[in-house]
Amino acid sequence: MSIIKITGLTKDYGNQKGIFDLTFNIEEGEIFGYLGPNGAGKTTTIRHLLGFLKPDKGGSQILGMDCRLKSAEIMKNLGYLPGEIAFFDGMKGMEFLNFMGEMKGLKDTSLRDRLVDMFQLDTKGRIRKIFILTFEDASSATDFINNSPFDIIEANNKTVKLGILGNVTELIKALDKYKVLDLDTEKSSLEDIFMHYYGDLNISQKSD
């Protein structure tokens, strides 16, 4: 069964920027690395999958549900790790994890505690003041706490250099989960990251 289905997805930002008639499927059990140069439209595609953007033409489905119209429903089964981390000012690490858990409607905290332990998170400090690495880890933990069937992970050079993705890939192995990785980075930094490139991309517009 196709978990993610993208059909003729088009978002035109003008100046030949955006995505044009993008079509591909991602099957269950697949680890999918989505690569392309800066400006190719990787993040734009992800934003459509998350329901943040309304396509000009075409559409995308996750688990058979329209990404724009049913995003709340889809999120019940989807983990998402944003590339940028920002949160309520002055929230402490554990408050943040609790808040995200409550927002996701989770009752069981055992997985969260396991992750806090695995990451050796400082959950007592204020998020703003915690060392950036912990900050990113805290963020990854919030993605993983609900143990959703699959996740979308946005990564950039910074996260790769800081070794976050090392942790993340360990987790993927440990939790036996399926992942979609959006890696916004140079190929040289990607050597250590295991991924499977799915060869049916149809990005008709490329910058650089």
Partner: protein, 266 residues
Amino acid sequence: MISKPLLKATIKQNFMIFLIILAVLMLYLPIIIAMYDPATQDSLEEVLNLLPQGLISAMGFNNLGTSLLDFISSYFYGLLILLLPMIYTIIICNRSIASHVDKGSMAYLLSTANKRTTIARTQALFIIVSTSIMIGIVTLVGIILSNIMFPGKLDVPGFLLLNLGALLLYYSITGIGFFASCLFNDTKNSLMIGAGIPVAFLVIQMISDIGEKTSFLKYFTLFTLYDPSKIISGDSCILQFITLIIIAVLMYTIGIYVFDKRDLPL
């Protein structure tokens, strides 16, 4: 319908600024009530007469009647009630949606199984309820203090009506702020409209009060719909109040709709 955890987090986020503004209000209110003295009202008026009429009018001190309600309405409800809670509402309106979109934290909120409308409704509810609580506390403390310092002197129904008007005015002002917050991607633009319009309204209101020549400006400010001296003099203000309610309902509804439908740069 709403998200309880988000409401809790938003309350926590804005608790401090709420307390600070409330504290300033609670500092002024007793002082102004205590300043009331029927005997010295005349001498106060003499002092004020020394000042240029335009300046006095601009400060909202037009109606220097003799009752306690006249006194409070001109000194507290002429300007302070328009200015102080507005600082609070401008901040919370911007924080409600635009700031989350600007910072990127909206991505986290939407990565949970909550619809955009649920998020927006929760934030709107917080704005409406917390503003109501603030004006409610002012009303309650005003009545209690008046009855302690000048037992039986306060026209309570008139005072309640005065506060109801202020509250409805705030519903429509926060409606504008909330709408701007839903519409824009960044704090800068959200504040330009969400803070700019209410502040401009207030300034226009002050200028239009100065005299005959500038009074036509009253048609360009929402604050004209809230006229303390008219409210306490018993003039019917139902039409004004209904207008304020309609503006508020429209702004909040359109705000939630726009936020639900638009593209988000997260």
